[in-house]
């Protein structure tokens, strides 16, 4: 701000100086030393007593001056040579290096992001695997327990059934034995009784057959 104000003050002073030192109208001619051609031209004008002389005429501005073309070629050549050789490749190299660096940074960030993503996915996969594994183990344990329990149960049941069947068989056997014993006893008793009654008229085999048939008919009717 202070600098701006100083500049403005300086500009105002310069303006005032311009107005203050306004030249008098007559002081147009400069007193500086004139160059050689200019002096010659003044002499020529004085000789001809007219300002319409050749040296006073402006050269046509549409005609180029040889020295200006020559130096222009040199100057442009230098500029072109410098820019083509050093200037443009240098700037372009700087710009390309920046682009590449930024691109590289972006790529690195992208790669890191991708890597982090894969690591996360891997970790999550591992976690899920562990979870399914544990679930599987629990399931297996439960199945094993179930199996053991059902085996034990089945064994117990079969044991019970076996015992029961054995008991029933024993009972049946005992009953059959008892019936057989009873039948034999009854037959003996009957034979004895019949022997007593009939007295040795019949031989033993015939008696047994008789009684058997009798008992069978009794059994069939009963």
């Amino acid at each position: 701000m202070r600098r701006t104000r100083l500049l403005m003050a300086a500009a105002a002073l310069v303006l005032l100086g311009f107005l203050g030192f306004a030249r008098p109208a007559a002081a147009q001619e400069s007193k500086t030393k004139l160059s050689h051609p200019a002096e010659e031209c003044i002499k020529e004008i004085e000789a001809a007593n007219s300002i319409d002389v050749d040296c006073q005429k402006a050269p046509n501005p549409l005609l180029p001056q040889a020295n200006e073309i020559l130096w222009g070629v040199v100057g442009f050549g230098v500029v072109f040579g410098f820019l083509a050789w050093k200037g443009l490749p240098g700037i372009k190299a700087g710009m390309n290096a920046r682009t590449e660096r930024i691109q590289g940074d972006l790529d690195a960030a992208e790669a890191q992001r991708t890597e982090a993503g894969t690591v996360l996915a891997e970790y999550q996969a591992q976690l899920a695997e562990a979870r399914t594994e544990s679930a599987r183990i629990i399931e297996e344990a439960r199945q094993a327990a179930d199996e053991v329990r059902s085996t034990l149960q089945a064994k117990a049941e079969s044991d019970i059934a076996e015992l029961r069947a054995k008991a029933a068989a024993d009972i049946e056997a005992a009953k059959t034995q008892a019936v057989a014993d009873l039948r034999g006893e009854v037959a003996n008793l009957a034979i004895a009784a019949a022997e007593q009654v009939v007295g040795h008229s019949l031989d033993r085999d015939t008696n047994v057959a008789l009684v058997e048939s009798f008992i069978d008919s009794v059994g069939a009717t009963s």
Binding site: A58, N60, P61, L62
Partner: protein, 80 residues
């Protein structure tokens, strides 16, 4: 009114040249005004194509302006 008549009425060669340059500048003036106006309209309607319109506008101005500048040069050839 021919150039000779103009000269006879006291107009110098320089004056005629200046006058002719002034006349010659009318056409390019109108042309550049119309060209820039239309370009501004195009840029206002389609700001996304402003860059292309601007380049073309400068090209057009350069071509139209050449006419006025050739007049300027002719002024130097004839008068100055």
């Amino acid at each position: 009114m021919s150039i000779a008549v103009l000269a006879a009425t006291g107009l110098t060669n320089k004056g005629v040249a200046a006058l002719t340059y002034g006349l010659g500048a009318i056409g390019p003036g109108i042309g550049i005004g119309y060209l820039v106006g239309q370009s501004v309209q195009a840029m206002a309607r389609q700001p996304e194509s402003a860059g292309m319109v601007r380049t073309t506008m400068f090209l057009g101005i350069a071509f139209v302006e050449a006419l006025a500048l050739i007049g300027f040069v002719v002024f130097f050839l004839a008068g100055a």
